[in-house]
């Protein structure tokens, strides 16, 4: 059983990393969105391993279902569908410098992570169940919950106002 779980976990990690690399290095812009969707699916599988099936479903619904579709719409409207995701031209030295500083930062943070002694909480207040998530969302974090709904409303109204701005000029 543990062997199967190991195998599944490594599959999800490979899915996440391969999707991220495709999202960044993809030649066509559509492939980049596809890579992002694959990477997000991998992370939603990792959420299952982290004990939250609710968050895994929300990840698939919101990220893969909504955000990726919005990105595809954006590509269709603003670019040609097989638009080349052309990279910013970069000299050899700049590329090497970026790689060197990036990998140095990566290994420094990995060292910090592996050297730190993580101390878990002494006791757990409640379990991972969706009942407790909903309860604290309505009691403890009620203000943030209401605020994020306001943020979403403003985002929707703002998006409509921004996007229909040019239309009046055309019709006039």
């Amino acid at each position: 059983m543990s062997m199967v779980m190991d195998f599944l976990f490594f599959g999800l990690v490979v899915l996440t990393m391969a999707g991220a690399i495709l999202a960044v290095r993809g030649r066509v812009l559509m492939h980049a969105v596809l890579g992002l969707a694959v990477s997000l699916l991998g992370v939603s599988g990792l959420y299952l391993f982290l004990g939250s099936p609710f968050l895994a479903l929300m990840q698939v619904l919101i990220y893969v279902g909504a955000v990726c579709v919005v990105l595809v719409f954006g590509i269709m409207v603003g670019y040609t569908p097989n638009e080349e995701a052309e990279k910013v031209p970069m000299g050899r030295n700049a590329f090497l410098g970026l790689m060197a500083s990036g990998s140095a930062a990566f290994f420094l943070v990995v060292m910090v992570i592996s050297r730190t002694v993580w101390t878990p909480a002494v006791e757990r207040l409640n379990d991972f169940s969706i009942e407790h998530v909903g309860e604290s969302l309505m009691m403890q974090w009620c203000l943030s919950f209401e605020l994020i709904s306001v943020v979403l409303l403003i985002a929707i109204v703002g998006a409509i106002i921004l996007a229909r701005d040019g239309r009046d000029e055309v019709s006039r």
């Binding site: 543990s2 190991d6 976990f9 490594f10 990690v13 990393m17 991220a20 690399i21 999202a23 960044v24 812009l29 980049a32 969105v33 992002l36 990477s39 992370v43 990792l46 982290l50 968050l55 990840q59 990220y63 909504a66 955000v67 919005v70 990105l71 719409f73 954006g74 590509i75 409207v77 603003g78 670019y79 995701a85 052309e86 990279k87 910013v88 970069m90 970026l98 930062a105 990566f106 943070v109 990995v110 992570i113 993580w118 909480a121 002494v122 207040l125 991972f128 309860e135 604290s136 974090w141 994020i148 943020v151 979403l152 985002a155 929707i156 703002g158 998006a159 921004l162 996007a163 040019g166």
Partner: protein, 105 residues
Amino acid sequence: MSFYTNLSTYLILALFLLMMGIYGIIRHKTFIGMLISTELVLNGAGLNFMAFNKFLAPDPAVGQIFTLFIMGIAAAEAAITISFILAVYRKFTTGDPRGMTDLKG
């Protein structure tokens, strides 16, 4: 000790997502490409919250709620950015950030 019961595995994976996202923001030429890379960064942050929530936090509901908020903010940000890209595309008829040089002397 297995890999998936180890906090460091998740933290290093989230770090990898963050690095790939920053690299993509630097390298991509189009606005949409930058937006895709930003989603990767936000997703790494969410994975970090969930990992700490599972292994260290006293109340396991908090990390899940924060990750939900990150998802909501990411959705709002994607909608706003797409409408920005639409407006910019109408004005400049290009999605290339290097074409928008009206303020350049």
